[in-house]
């Protein structure tokens, strides 16, 4: 029954029942008429099972007409009880619902309609259901490590029950039916009537996956986008669950072969026990992320205005009390800003745990034994980074298991343990976050990469190249040396996209491969996306900001240290090295700028191992700036990382050292 229908009937019934209190003939009349009307409303409503309630209403109406107050009162009470019981019954696993779902005529189109009727409730339902499914998955993985643990069984049962109930209340029958089946399975498990072993947990995980897909699909359809057809999969899975409950021999077509050894997740869970977290809903709140972003933005603006006020010359030589209060204001604003930025930080734990599930599935699929070791799950990252790092990490984990880690036989013949080891680590280092993905497989096959690079015309056949240079080739688009393209990796579209995603976060990725021993990928990401410590500089009439981490040093060279190539100043000598030289004014077409390096200032930019000496007019100062994106309208401007609001309210472009180095290299290769 639809919630609004229930509310409507409740309201009508209350109104009608008031007449009982009043007493007298007019009241009795009103009661009788009201009840008869309600009865016909229920009779014509498109819901089943209301016959009993309608009967009580008709009886009460008749008694009201007959004028017997006592009996009428009792009859109205009976109407209430019957109605309430019916409402309750709609949410309980009652016989009527079971028979309806066995004949499953649930259709996804009907469910979408049901959700459309109440957008706010639907939105909440979808978000909460997906949340529950995430919790369920974690608990199931834990259960695999500790079979028979009743607390875990309950931890899995409860959210399933909630999802089933919520979907039922909203009329989303496709979801409700499947959830209900699994709930039955779990109920048998927690009452000890059915052992929940690997076969059962496998089925439960399948259900989690399918329900997630179904709910995501519903959301897509609600947005007007085309949906997927999951009906076949759903019916199959429901049949499967029934078979498992009946302990029948499972139809081999319905399930993937189940590997006999301990699953990877069991081993992973043993290595880093997934703690049983107490229900901590009291300790946190759900906030709409837009509100959070808006708050962080506003705090950013507050900091800027506050620094403009603080630096205002009119306030410099004023009385001591004002100065003290200003200083206090500054301190509080700083703290506020730090807190606001911290609100965007989330631990990487959830991302790592998604990997646990992935490793489990992959190792079953490939038949290889893999131990997953996680560390540093508490390391916090900006929320956006966590979102964007998910796909690259998944891709690299797949690569490690598919191509890196060898199967048990090969490993043993190489003197390694039969079980491969994949470790994910996250930690802070300097001003960055580092994420390490390390496997003890066979390492990158340098020769095969070299051959592929030669075949693609990227390098000469006889070029003598350092292995690390050859390894970098895997980041080229379309590059993959996988012998077989497996279903999920090896299509050669991966590593270049991975690197691009990481660079979009202003991060870097490094490879360290040891032939026969394993491969390590290192991802370095800046700690905060939004705030950067900057050097403000001026060239011509424009001011720019250079992030201090990109600056190795600044100097004013002597004319004799500037060396020309073909008449153009191209290099500067700094102590013992020659660094490529370029004028910022030239790169960005700025007028009225200083012409010669020795008349202005040279800033040496550092981008990993590359250096560029940038000629600017002068350094103006240091400032912590909030990075503002230039907006979607601009796309990617080479050499520019964004805009910053300077102390006087003007915008200063933030220079991107990596981009400038790339621009230089582009020019060099063109000139060559």
């Amino acid at each position: 029954m639809r919630p609004e229908f229930i509310l409507q009937v409740d309201a009508d019934l209350s109104r009608v029942a008031c007449s009982v209190m009043v007493g007298g003939n007019a009241a009795a009349d009103a009661l009788k008429t009201g009840l008869r009307q309600l009865a016909s409303v229920l009779a014509t409503a498109p819901f089943d099972g209301l016959a009993a309630v309608i009967d009580t209403m008709v009886r009460a109406a008749d008694l009201a007409e007959a004028g017997n107050e006592q009996e009428t009162l009792a009859a109205v009470d009976a109407v209430w009880s019957a109605w309430k019981a019916e409402v309750e019954g709609a949410n309980k696993p009652s016989a009527s619902i079971e028979t309806a779902s066995n004949g499953t005529d649930a259709r996804v189109e009907d469910d979408v309609e049901a959700l459309r009727m109440d957008p706010e409730l639907s939105g909440m339902f979808i978000v909460e259901a997906l949340d529950h499914l995430g919790t369920i998955e974690t608990s199931v993985l834990a259960l695999e490590a500790a079979p028979g643990d009743t607390k875990l069984l309950n931890d899995i049962f409860r959210p399933f029950h909630t999802v089933k109930g919520n979907s039922g209340a909203l009329g989303v029958r496709t979801v409700q039916e499947l959830a209900h089946r699994v709930e039955n399975l779990l109920d048998l498990g927690r009452s000890g009537k059915l052992a929940i072993g690997p076969r059962e947990t496998d089925v439960i995980l399948k259900a989690v996956d399918l329900l997630t897909a179904m709910i995501t699909d519903l959301q897509r359809r609600l947005n007007g986008d085309p949906g997927q057809d999951l009906e076949g999969a759903r019916l199959d899975l429901m049949t499967l669950v029934d078979s498992v409950i009946a302990q029948e021999a499972l139809d081999p077509q319905l399930i993937a072969p189940i590997v006999a050894e301990e699953s990877a997740a069991v081993q992973a869970a043993k290595a880093s026990p997934l703690k049983r977290r107490a229900d901590d809903t009291g300790a946190s709140v759900k906030i709409d992320t837009r509100k959070l972003d808006s708050l962080v933005d506003m705090v950013g603006e507050l900091v800027i205005v506050q620094s403009i006020i603080r630096d205002d010359p009119a306030l410099q030589a004023v009385d001591e009390r004002l100065t003290r209060n200003l200083a206090q204001l500054c301190r509080i604003t700083s703290d506020l800003q730090r807190n606001a930025m911290a609100m965007r930080m989330v631990p990487i734990r959830q991302t790592f745990q998604k990997m646990a599930r992935l490793v489990r599935d992959l190792s079953k699929h490939s038949g290889k034994q893999v131990d997953l070791v996680l560390s540093g799950e508490d390391t916090e990252l900006d929320r956006k980074v966590v979102e964007d790092i998910n796909d690259p990490l998944m891709h690299m984990v797949r690569n490690s298991i598919d191509h890196g880690i060898e199967d048990a036989a090969t490993r043993q013949s190489r003197g390694k343990s039969a079980t491969g080891r994949l470790s994910l680590k996250a930690y802070h280092q300097g001003g960055s976050i580092v994420i390490e993905i390390e496997d003890d497989g066979g390492g990158l096959n340098t020769e095969r990469i070299r051959q592929k690079a030669i075949a693609q015309g990227l390098i000469d056949a006889d070029a003598q190249l350092d292995p690390s240079v050859i390894h970098q080739m895997i980041f080229r688009p379309g590059f993959s040396t996988a012998q077989q393209v497996t279903e999920i990796s090896g299509r050669g579209v991966g590593m270049d996209v991975v690197r691009r995603n990481i660079e979009a976060l202003r991060g870097r990725i490094e490879i360290h491969s040891r032939p026969g021993e394993g491969t390590t990928f290192l991802i370095r990401l800046p700690l905060t996306l939004a705030i950067v410590d900057g050097l403000v500089l001026r060239t011509g009439a424009q001011r720019f900001v250079l992030p201090t981490f990109a600056v190795r040093e600044s100097l004013r060279p002597l004319p004799e240290h500037v060396h020309t190539v073909h008449g153009q100043p191209r290099m500067v000598q700094v102590r013992n090295s020659l660094i490529p030289l370029v004028r910022l004014a030239e790169l960005f077409a700025i007028e009225d700028a200083v012409e010669h390096a020795w008349e202005g200032t040279v800033v040496v930019l550092e981008d990993e191992d590359d250096h560029v000496a940038l000629v600017i007019d002068e350094l103006v100062g240091k400032q912590e700036v909030v990075i503002k994106s230039l907006g979607d309208a601009f796309g990617n401007v080479p050499g520019v990382a964004g805009g910053a609001i300077l102390g006087d309210g003007r915008v200063g472009l933030i220079l991107d050292a990596h981009g400038i180095v790339a621009m230089m290299q582009g020019r060099e290769s063109k000139a060559a």
Binding site: F588, G631, F634, G635, P638, G643, V651, L653
Partner: protein, 167 residues
């Protein structure tokens, strides 16, 4: 938002009626639907962004938000003019390929908000192939003066993004 949808959309003249902000570029007067206008600010320092077409002047700080600024004179191919105390920036909301963005447009002077009725507005005349009239939604006659009504999304958003380098 798919700007190509506008290509075939024939807006009825009655549908164009409403409030418009009118502004001057040289001797010509233009009108923008008021719903698209966020605010009007006096001319201020614009930070140049490298490698942009000439009509993209750069970015400004709008209360903490960095937004791009376009010089409409240059966009329409008029000769550039020095900015004076009447020059303003109209902050508008434009629909481009990736969503809605705020942009500033530099105009010579802002005139007034006019309430245009259906009968004041006429369909854009066909000037022949030499004049591109795609970005005009219509022409209004008010007190003997003609105002050209603009479809901002086509003027500013038709490129998708402004990051076209001069090819």
């Amino acid at each position: 938002m798919n700007t190509t949808q506008n290509a075939g959309a024939v807006k009825t003249v009655a549908g164009l009626a409403g409030k418009y902000l009118t502004f001057a570029l040289g001797t010509e007067e233009y009108g923008l639907p008021v719903l698209k206008v966020r605010e009007i600010i006096k001319m201020l320092d614009i930070t140049q962004v490298p490698q942009m077409p000439a009509h993209v002047k750069g970015v400004i700080n709008l209360r903490g938000k960095v937004i791009p600024v376009v010089d409409l004179r240059l966009k329409f191919g008029f000769a550039p003019q020095d900015y004076n105390e009447r020059t303003c920036v109209i902050v508008v909301e434009v629909v481009i390929a990736t969503g809605r963005v705020l942009m500033g447009i530099v105009v010579d002077a802002v005139s007034e908000v006019l309430n245009l009725a259906g009968e004041d507005i006429e369909r854009t005349p066909d000037f022949g192939e030499r004049v591109d009239t795609d970005y005009m939604t219509g022409v209004a006659k008010v007190k003997g003066k003609v105002k050209i009504l603009l479809d901002l999304d086509r003027v500013l958003g038709a490129d998708g993004t402004i990051s076209l380098k001069a090819a």
